[in-house]
Subunit: 322 residues, 2 copies
């Protein structure tokens, strides 16, 4: 590849400027890039500038890169003008396969050779989107979370025709641009985080559809419960702590049978020895030398910090007459 | 009922003193109650006092109630001594239906009349657990999250034989004791939060079983992604914001078709007009007058506060040479 080194990129193009594309624009501007943007909607520029202006105070709080400015955004009249001089392209078009396919082929034709083009798709495999592009090797998925200017995660994965170099380049570029990257070595519909949150979302929709819980109860059950832990310790490690000093192995012994219970509409996998061992070993890896006691202390401090940061320290209890 | 008013409770009994029962002990001590505890394990007292001592610095940071002290814990030799003088009983025995059934009947026989007895069960309906108890009317589920001394949520629900008064009394008591309560009006296996996190957990186990993601990638995908939002804004309202200025209705129009995609092993419900309308109206209720712009501002500030509180402000980006 003849592309610019990730560290030297200065010009980024964002194609599609809705909630996600506009969020990317805000992120790249805040990190000091020159950004060109294009979107076919007639009022796209107005909405985009409104979104960037709304995000700017938050980005200023986080700390802008030297020279970062909303003045470094140029909204172009054509797709070709947006990408003609770009060193990286982020595509955030509507989530329709034929639209993505067609747009990626057009972007490939208009973007300088060697420049990586990433799609924000929420779940389409790149293999299905890169069918019509001649330069399919430089097309990757770079899936962000909303809003891309605040949530660090980007999931990077290539399609069957994507080059390993393009995947590595994109992962490195996103890191340089301040994101937290998970590079997947195989395509899975929905990637990782969306599969997980989609399972939760589907169960939530079933509950609403059956009158088992209201939207507010669903939201409160997360923000007052497991959501507090998930801001800084993932579901696997936090579950391990439910096993007490015995960790994940004890947790699986204790709660494994619940996998047979009708606790959700999602069937659980068979908790055979291979899965049991993978989960226990995976938790050990993730703990990276921290003992259960270390993790408990870390979790406790994390919950306290998050409660305090979000203005929700529990009341002083009965003595305060609350 | 002849029970003490929730505001006047001073003596709480905790039966079962493992991770969850011990966490309840720590919570009630920190809130200034006298706590009696019983657990049949030979080393139970040692482990319990170790757990309480480990939790105490966190509880001190949160702010102890007047007079709160670990000295107010009494570990008894028998179940009968633990509950004989109690004004509220919290049962946290191992998650086995026959154990729960038997224990709740014993607790009912030993606890003063009118005193409410709550079970920490992670998912059994009270209807199935209260079968052997004569005083089934005072038996409720009070399901906490780990650790109960830090995570505010308690889900309260009765069984078929539980009195409405006992459910109302328990909900009020937990509120007085500093918890955040969701009172369910019907039994659903797994209640609300556990159904939601169990769906996510099952999908995660499938991914590990199939080599699609490692334990660490699963955890990182949540803590660097949607988990940051869920600490203060639930999945339904945060999804609504993915719809931009159109909110949940626009989000469902845009991402509704993804429900047909194989993004998880969980089948989605049909997004018919009734469900669509329920979700949109439920979001309006949950928003309680806040506009989409208000919610976006709230979400952005929340993410920044959580990132800052957990020491993870994004790097200054390329200019800093990160």
């Amino acid at each position: 590849m003849t592309s610019t080194e990730p560290e030297n990129v200065r010009r980024v193009a964002c194609v599609g400027a809705g909630v996600i594309g506009g969020g990317w624009v805000a992120h790249f501007l805040a990190r000091g890039y020159d950004v060109t943007a294009w979107d076919p909607a007639p009022d796209a520029e107005l909405r985009l500038r409104r979104l960037v202006d709304a995000a700017w105070p938050a980005l200023t709080q986080l700390g802008l890169a030297d020279g970062a400015s909303t003045d470094r955004l140029t909204v172009t009249a054509t797709l070709e003008e947006a990408v003609g001089d770009a060193q990286f392209v982020q595509e955030s078009a509507p989530e329709k396969l034929d639209v993505k396919r067609d747009l990626l082929a057009r972007l490939d034709a208009a973007t300088p050779p060697g420049v990586v083009i990433a799609s924000s798709t929420s779940g389409y495999p790149m293999t299905d989107m890169q069918t019509d592009a001649e330069g399919a090797g430089r097309l990757v998925v770079g899936h962000p979370f909303n809003p891309p200017y605040l949530i660090p995660l980007v999931e990077v994965v290539g399609g069957e025709r994507t080059s390993a170099e393009a995947v590595a380049w994109a992962s490195r570029f996103y890191e340089v641009a301040g994101k937290s990257v998970i590079t997947m070595d195989r395509e899975v519909p929905g990637f990782i985080a969306n599969r997980l949150q989609e399972a939760l979302w589907r169960e939530a929709l079933h509950m609403v559809a059956n009158g088992e819980a209201t939207v507010k109860e669903i939201d409160d059950s997360i923000t007052e419960g497991p959501g507090l832990r998930w801001a800084f310790m993932g579901p696997m490690l936090t579950f391990a702590l439910a096993g007490g000093e015995g960790g994940m192995a004890h947790m699986l012994d204790h709660f494994g049978p619940s996998l047979k219970s009708p606790w959700t509409r999602l069937e659980a996998p068979e908790l055979d020895k291979a899965l049991y061992d993978s989960v226990v070993a995976g938790c050990d890896d993730a703990a990276a030398g921290r003992t259960i006691a270390d993790l408990v202390a870390e979790r406790d401090q994390g919950v306290i910090d998050v409660l305090r940061a979000t203005g929700r320290l529990p009341g002083a209890g009965k003595e305060s007459g609350k």
